[in-house]
């Protein structure tokens, strides 16, 4: 065999993941997807500010406590998180295939699983970068003013902070699980967004609240079980005694995350991607 001209460095899984993450981060940040998701994210703090402004007008006579708004906001956030994960997760592979740029990544000395993980992490990170400020601003609006979040007495930013931090952790954890699910869908299916919509707003939105064992096949069920907020649908589920314990829910979410991450890596590692027939 002919001797190599020079010996380039080997790229292991960790280095490959880091390098792909650094490559994907600005590409994900400055995408139309991020612009759309940020525009949608503004809706919640805007609605909160409006609610507080109207409530401050004595003539309006609005007696709804702030925590009810906040609980409903949490339900909005659950769907928003699914939407963010759907758009970012399905795009991890699909945008490279659609843009015919996947070739540039596949001919690098980086394991395919590292490419997937690096891009997936970048997607999650940008999603978190949108969601965390959205929740923080909304929370601040409700706790820094008249203490509307706390039921009737001296509430403050700090009193509710533990609940808020657990909300943030749960939200970002949920984003990670859904991103793994939708990344797999993006790597496996040809029209991943359609499949993703069917799963997010069909399966996840309805089956999670059907009594019985089927609901345990949804991410939403475990998220609702972990949520401390009494929102519309999960109040009914809680009353029926259909919730799963905290430990079981956390473990289940971890298993779902690992399973779909593994499936996505397995699919991406073995699949041949074609851009068009003329390439033959």
């Amino acid at each position: 065999m002919n001797e190599p001209r020079h010996t380039p460095p080997a790229v292991d899984f960790i280095r490959g993941t880091k390098a792909t993450f650094r490559l994907a981060l600005p590409m994900t940040l400055w995408s139309r997807r991020t612009l759309l998701m940020t525009m949608l994210a503004v809706f919640l703090p805007l609605a909160a500010a409006l609610f507080l402004a109207v409530k401050a007008i004595p003539a309006a006579e609005i007696r709804t406590p702030g925590y009810i708004f906040y609980s409903n906001a949490f339900q909005f956030v659950q769907y928003y998180v699914m939407l963010v994960a759907l758009f970012y997760g399905t795009a991890v592979v699909a945008e490279e295939v659609d843009g015919k740029t996947l070739t540039y990544l596949l001919i690098r000395p980086v394991p395919r699983s590292a490419i997937l993980l690096g891009k997936g992490l970048a997607s999650w990170f940008i999603g978190a970068l949108i969601i965390a400020p959205m929740l923080t601003i909304t929370y601040a609006l409700f706790t820094l003013g008249d203490g509307l979040l706390y039921m009737g007495n001296a509430s403050s930013f700090t009193v509710n902070l533990p609940t808020f931090l657990s909300d943030i952790a749960l939200t970002l954890g949920t984003l990670a699980v859904y991103t793994a699910v939708f990344t797999f869908i993006g790597a496996f299916f040809k029209r991943p967004v359609l499949w993703g919509i069917a799963i997010a707003f069909g399966w996840e939105s309805w089956v999670a609240f059907v009594p019985g064992l089927t609901r345990k096949l949804t991410v939403m069920h475990y998220v609702q079980s972990l949520s401390q907020h009494a929102t519309g649908k999960n109040v009914a589920v809680a009353l029926l005694g259909q919730q799963t314990s905290t430990i079981q829910s956390i473990l289940s979410l971890l298993v779902i995350f690992a399973l779909f991450s593994g499936l996505a890596a397995w699919t991406f590692g073995r699949r041949e991607y074609f851009f068009d027939l003329s390439e033959r």
């Binding site: 070739t103 690098r108 980086v110 041949e272 390439e279 033959r280």
Partner: protein, 307 residues
């Protein structure tokens, strides 16, 4: 010199479609042309060799390693894809640098190699512009820069000069010749014979997924020239032109069509025929608006070869 790329009885099919059919060949350092019409299987063969497609049957090795899903091999291999696809919002410099950063070099070495590759393809002045605003030639050159930035030993170039203007074409052909001269193994695909002729005399002929011939490009050219060659000329006076052409010793037969104002000549000596046309125009005052040869494309050559 031993072979750097070895292919043994490779076949690749997509469902019912056979894209490659029992291809066996060796590539040694230097430039080799992969010649075939569109849809012949050139891109499939290159995708197999770059590890993007898994052969349905047979074995391929590049520098002794099986390419499919083998990232380690990519340390020594560069690839310029046919498709005109980029991260359009990136600048040329960022594009090359970002892809090179996946090769595990330090930040300094990545930067230095990026600059060297960009300079090699003559894009230093334009590297800060966004790729979305590049001309076809610039895009092709920046695509080549990402293929050679890590100094690969084996380079696969899929239709690298397609759609370029003569100056851009000349520049890229010079680069390819230089890389081949440096001892790299360079496989260049094309569907245009004269493009390949200007890069190398070593060619592989592929059509319908089969390797039809390998060897010297001039033998292929002679093979073409042994067959009757058709040249169509458009003129305001088809009858008059046909009269002049029939008396030419290089011409075997002539047909003309008053409606389309065209004359088709059949010749066994195309080189001689092409030399005489300008003389005919200047000396006899014959008007020729357009000249084309349907035989000049590879489809016709392959028709001859498989008959």
């Amino acid at each position: 010199m031993s072979a750097t790329v070895e292919i043994r009885d490779i076949s690749k099919w997509y469902g019912q479609v056979v894209a490659l059919n029992g291809v066996s060949l060796d590539l040694k350092p230097g430039v080799t042309g992969l010649l075939g019409p569109n849809g012949a299987g050139k891109s499939t063969l290159i995708k197999v060799l770059t590890g993007q497609l898994r052969p349905s049957r047979g074995e391929a090795t590049v520098l002794g390693q099986a390419p499919w899903n083998n990232p380690d091999m990519n340390r020594f291999m560069g690839f310029c894809p046919e498709q005109d696809s980029f991260y359009e919002h990136m600048t040329g410099r960022r594009f090359v640098n970002a892809l090179l950063s996946l090769h595990g070099y330090s930040a300094t070495e990545t930067r230095d190699r990026t600059e060297a590759a960009i300079a090699e393809v003559g894009m230093s002045e334009l590297a800060e512009r966004k790729i979305g605003g590049y001309s076809k030639g610039m895009r092709q050159r920046i695509k080549l820069a990402q293929a050679i930035a890590h100094d690969p030993q084996v380079v696969f170039l899929d239709e690298p000069v397609t759609g370029l203007d003569p100056v851009g074409r000349h520049h890229i052909i010079d680069l390819i010749l230089k890389w081949g001269g440096e001892g790299r193994t360079v496989l260049v695909s094309s569907h245009i014979l004269h493009e390949v002729e200007s890069m190398t005399s070593s060619v592989l002929l592929i059509n319908h997924g089969r390797l039809l011939a390998e060897g010297d490009v001039h033998e292929i050219r002679e093979l073409i020239d042994e067959h009757p060659h058709h040249v169509t000329l458009t003129t305001s006076d088809p009858r008059g032109l046909a009269g002049h052409l029939i008396s030419d010793p290089a011409v075997v037969s002539v047909r003309f069509d008053e409606e389309t104002r065209s004359v088709t000549a059949e010749t066994l000596k195309p080189e001689e025929f092409y030399r005489r046309i300008p003389i005919l125009v200047t000396q006899q005052g014959v008007n020729v608006d357009e000249m084309s040869s349907p035989d000049d494309n590879l489809e016709a050559v392959f028709d001859y070869l498989v008959k």
